[in-house]
């Protein structure tokens, strides 16, 4: 009797697990189908439909590097430079080493005259890996250092070997931390998505303009005031722009106006 009860309980558990797994797989299959359908629309030249499908996927299922990349391509082909750059940058955050994303972003920037200033060597080094990769490496270094020294309490290790390994781990830990810091700055950038965005002197309607900033330019938010933000662009220019004119790279979900 007791055995029967246990078996019944196990069966119930298996059924619940299978149902959950089935739902997940069905959801994944549906997302993949929608994604392929959007791809087909893109290939057929129906860019409006493709963009709508990609955006629906982002809103309901989440983001992936490929999804952002394909959406960015669709935006680029419809002339929405700002949104295209934004999606390429998002895709790069998820897949920093992807050559397609780098190539297309580079081409789009070149075509639109969004040339960037020479990046310092340390920023280039920081860009070799993504934020998550740098983070994982730094954590591994920390853990390795702790485990190694824990082992030396039990086992006899040559002092020179111990010192060398500790120094190497510490140097790598510092480098990885620097990489994290550099990449984390990129996660807090935003992109101008509205055409004809003027840099205003003051944060209110009708304020004087100090110039214009191109759609697709990377910016940093210095401070906010009502529905305006004081920004600093890649070339060091600053001014107030309306909130509606930019979007944060690392914010896709509901509230687009808050950084991480």
């Amino acid at each position: 009797m007791k055995l029967k009860k246990s078996a019944l309980l196990f069966l119930c558990f298996v059924m619940i697990f299978c149902t959950f797994l089935g739902t997940c797989l069905a959801g994944d299959r549906e997302n993949s189908q929608n994604f392929l359908e959007a791809n087909r629309a893109y290939e057929a030249g129906d860019l409006t439909k493709a963009i709508r499908s990609y955006e629906d996927l982002v809103a309901h299922a989440g983001v992936s590097a490929s999804l952002c990349y394909n959406l960015a391509n669709s935006y680029a082909r419809t002339g929405q430079t700002g949104k295209a750059v934004l999606e390429y940058e998002r895709a790069l955050l998820l897949a920093p080493g992807n050559a397609d994303i780098h190539t297309n972003l580079e081409r789009l920037r070149r075509e639109k005259g969004l040339f960037q200033k020479e990046i310092p060597w340390w920023q280039k080094m920081g860009g070799l890996l993504g934020l998550n990769q740098w983070t994982v490496l730094a954590a591994i270094m920390l853990l390795a250092l702790a485990l190694f020294h824990l082992a030396t309490l039990r086992f006899v290790v040559l002092r020179r070997f111990s010192s060398s390994l500790t120094a190497a781990c510490l140097v790598l830990l510092c480098l990885c931390s620097a990489g994290v810091a550099i990449q984390y700055r990129n996660w807090q950038q935003a992109v101008i998505i509205a055409p004809d965005t003027g840099l205003l002197i003051s944060p209110f309607d009708g304020a004087g303009s100090t110039g214009a900033i191109e759609e697709g330019r990377l910016i940093r938010i210095i401070k906010r005031h009502d529905s305006y933000a004081l920004i600093n662009d890649e070339n060091g220019r600053s001014g107030w722009v309306p909130d509606s004119s930019f979007a944060f790279i690392a914010m896709i979900m509901a509230d687009n106006k808050k950084p991480l």
Binding site: N70, R77, L94, F115, T135
Partner: protein
């Protein structure tokens, strides 16, 4: 006494009220019997010397009497206004004194020496007189007007309000061109001491012009016009004609003046001056003032607005009118195929910068240019400034050796003709190797070409005729007209789509922000800290043999005591005593650095003091170990073990 207490207790609450009323009645009756002093009147003026734009306070006081003050005598050049009344009662040593003060505000219409004559006041049916008061009124002092209103407002007659403030606009020349920026200064004059607040910025009356003002507060100064001091608010601004022909205009501003109210208030309680007293208003510096909204309008001005000549108008003329200079920089000047060159073009001078567009390349063939960005920096005064354009260009042709001249055209209203500024060609080197120019870009190499408006390098009359490629260019505050010569957005050669969706994640949250990851890192860090602590401790022990030996002896003693406890629990006396002997040998051997097994009772007697407790304990243990019949009760064993532990711990 007891009866009195009882009576007090019997007093009801109503009885207490009656007692209080009785006391009050006695006080009032007593007041009636107190004596008044003889009535006295006095007059005082404070201050005795003041300027035309200030006021003094005249106080007439009636002491110990009931009187009325009639109309004050008229004094030529003085304006005396009643401001209120106050009364004061004092009861000192049974003597009641009272005083009633009436306050007047005295202002002079012109500087000079004045005298307030003797004033007659009827008090208790008697005619009393004040003394005459002489005082001095000085001309107005030229000081900065008080902010927030601390001085007394000027007395004004009905028709004076229109003269209290006026507007002046300067300078306005007789003619200008459509779109030309005419710097001007708007000054609002307010009589000093007048309390006023502005309700609007200066506004233009007339539809032939546009008035532009910088977003800033007006400057506050003081000016004396015809010996009358004025607080002056000055706004800088520019005027641009938008309609040709003779145009009239004026500038207006709205303000609210706080003027003294000359109307007497009617006393609401049958003429009793107490309730109509204005003293409280005076006390809180809220004299009776009335707000008056006014519109100050400048005099009508006339300007002849001319149209720009069509003759000699350059093709690249964008509407800029004024006097400008042009500077062009290019960076880098050594590039690889397809590398962008950034042109930094600075247009500076005076004029309508909103119509200043980016200079254009005089030759576009073989060049791909992108829409320029712009940044306007205003200068120290209105209309002055510089506008910096940045534009990327790419050489399509590898054989290019120079960047072609850039031209900028404007209309000079003083010379009354169009002018075209052209930069010199900038030498360029296009290397066939990729990224050849990167080094120069890093080192900041650039080539600068300057051109002065008055240096003779300008090209008067018609420009080079090249105009703007694609007929466009960047407008101020906009993103320009798109690319110049580039393919359209759909024509970008993009890498193909990704066919695999990949793993989806909800939002872009970096690993470093996730709690689970933070916990892992924290655990790793704490583990590292703990290990480092343990290693430091081990190293400290290794470097201190005495401490090490002490800890080792403590460890051995603990082991021995555990063994003794075990044998005690078993109740085996012989094993217990043997364990005790072994423990003593072990500890003494450790301390004496000898073999523990070789230590005997004789050694203890030889090396320890004769009365040492340990000798007796050792003797007991040794004898018990060899005597089979020996038996110790549990209590004895506990006591023995206790003593032994105590003695062994004392060993050094």
């Amino acid at each position: 006494m007891e009866r009195l207490v009882k009576r007090l207790h019997y007093i009801r609450p109503g009885g207490r009220c009656r007692s209080f009323a009785l006391c009050l009645l006695l006080v009032i009756l007593g007041m009636g019997t107190v004596s008044h002093g003889a009535p006295v009147v006095s007059a005082s003026l404070d201050p005795r010397s003041f300027s035309v734009d200030q006021a003094a306070t005249l106080t007439l006081t009636i002491n110990d009497g009931d009187g009325t003050i009639g109309e004050l005598p008229q004094v030529d050049g003085l304006d005396i206004q009643r401001r209120g009344q106050s009364s004061q009662h004092q009861w000192i040593n049974g003597s009641l004194s009272s005083s009633v003060s009436t306050i007047f505000q005295v202002q002079a219409l012109r500087p000079g020496s004045y005298t307030i004559p003797i004033i007659s006041i009827t008090v208790d049916g008697k005619q009393l007189q004040t003394e005459a008061i002489a005082f001095e009124v000085t001309p107005a002092t030229a000081t900065v007007p008080q902010q927030g209103g601390g001085g007394a407002p000027l007395p004004l007659a009905g028709d004076e309000a229109s003269q209290l403030a006026f507007l002046r606009v300067s300078p306005v020349k007789g003619e200008n061109y459509v779109g030309e920026v005419l710097p001007l200064e708007i000054k609002a004059y307010f009589r000093r001491g007048l309390r006023a607040s502005l309700n609007s910025q200066p506004r233009l009356n007339g539809d032939g012009f546009v008035l532009t003002q910088p977003n800033q507060e007006p400057a506050q100064t003081e000016e004396v016009v015809d010996n009358v001091p004025y607080a002056v608010l000055t706004w800088p601004g520019t005027l641009s004609g938008i309609k040709e022909g003779r145009q009239n205009f004026s500038i207006a501003i709205e303000a609210t003046l706080l003027l003294p109210d000359k109307r007497r208030r009617s006393a609401p309680m049958g003429g009793d001056p107490f309730f109509g007293n204005d003293l409280f208003a005076d006390f809180f510096n809220q004299q009776q003032l009335q707000e008056k909204r006014i519109q100050i309008v400048s005099k009508d001005m006339e300007l002849q607005v001319l149209s720009l000549p069509t003759e000699g108008k350059p093709a690249d003329f964008s509407g800029a009118i004024g006097k400008f200079d042009l500077q062009v920089k290019a960076q880098p000047t050594e590039v690889g195929p397809g590398d962008p060159i950034t042109l930094t073009m600075t247009v500076q001078g005076t004029g309508n910068f909103d119509r200043v567009d980016a200079p254009v390349l005089s030759q576009t063939e073989g060049w791909k240019s992108y829409s320029p960005s712009s940044k306007m920096t205003p200068g120290a005064r209105v209309g002055l400034g510089n506008k910096v354009f940045e534009q990327a260009i790419v050489a399509k042709d590898m054989d290019r050796t120079t960047i072609p001249p850039l031209s900028f055209s404007f209309f000079d209203p003083e010379a009354r003709k169009y002018q075209t500024l052209r930069s010199d060609p900038i030498p360029l080197r296009v290397n066939k190797e990729e990224n050849a120019g990167k080094n120069e870009q890093l080192s900041g190499g650039n080539n600068e070409q300057g051109l002065s408006n008055g240096a003779g390098a300008k090209d008067n009359g018609i420009g080079d005729g090249q105009g703007r490629p694609n007929g466009g260019g960047a407008s101020d505050g906009g993103n320009g007209d798109g690319q110049q010569g580039g393919p359209d957005a759909a024509g970008i050669n993009l890498a193909p789509l990704h066919s695999q969706l990949g793993s989806l994640q909800q939002g872009l949250t970096p690993l470093v922000s996730r709690t689970s990851f933070q916990i892992v890192v924290l655990i790793s860090f704490l583990l590292l800290v703990a290990v480092i602590f343990l290693k430091i401790r081990a190293r400290r022990l290794a470097n201190n043999p005495a401490l090490c030996r002490h800890l080792e002896r403590e460890r051995l003693l603990d082991l021995s005591l555990r063994e003794i406890e075990k044998s005690r629990e078993q109740g085996n006396t012989q094993e217990f005593l043997a364990a005790c002997r072994k423990a003593m040998q072990g500890q003494l051997g450790f301390v004496w650095q000898t073999e523990p097994g070789a230590i005997t009772l004789a050694d203890l007697r030889q090396r320890l003091a004769a009365d040492a407790e340990l000798i007796a304990l050792f003797a007991t243990a040794e004898s018990g170990a060899y005597v089979v019949e020996s038996h110790l009760s549990q209590q004895e064993m506990v006591e023995y073990a206790g003593k032994l532990e105590q003695e062994l711990r004392k060993l050094q």
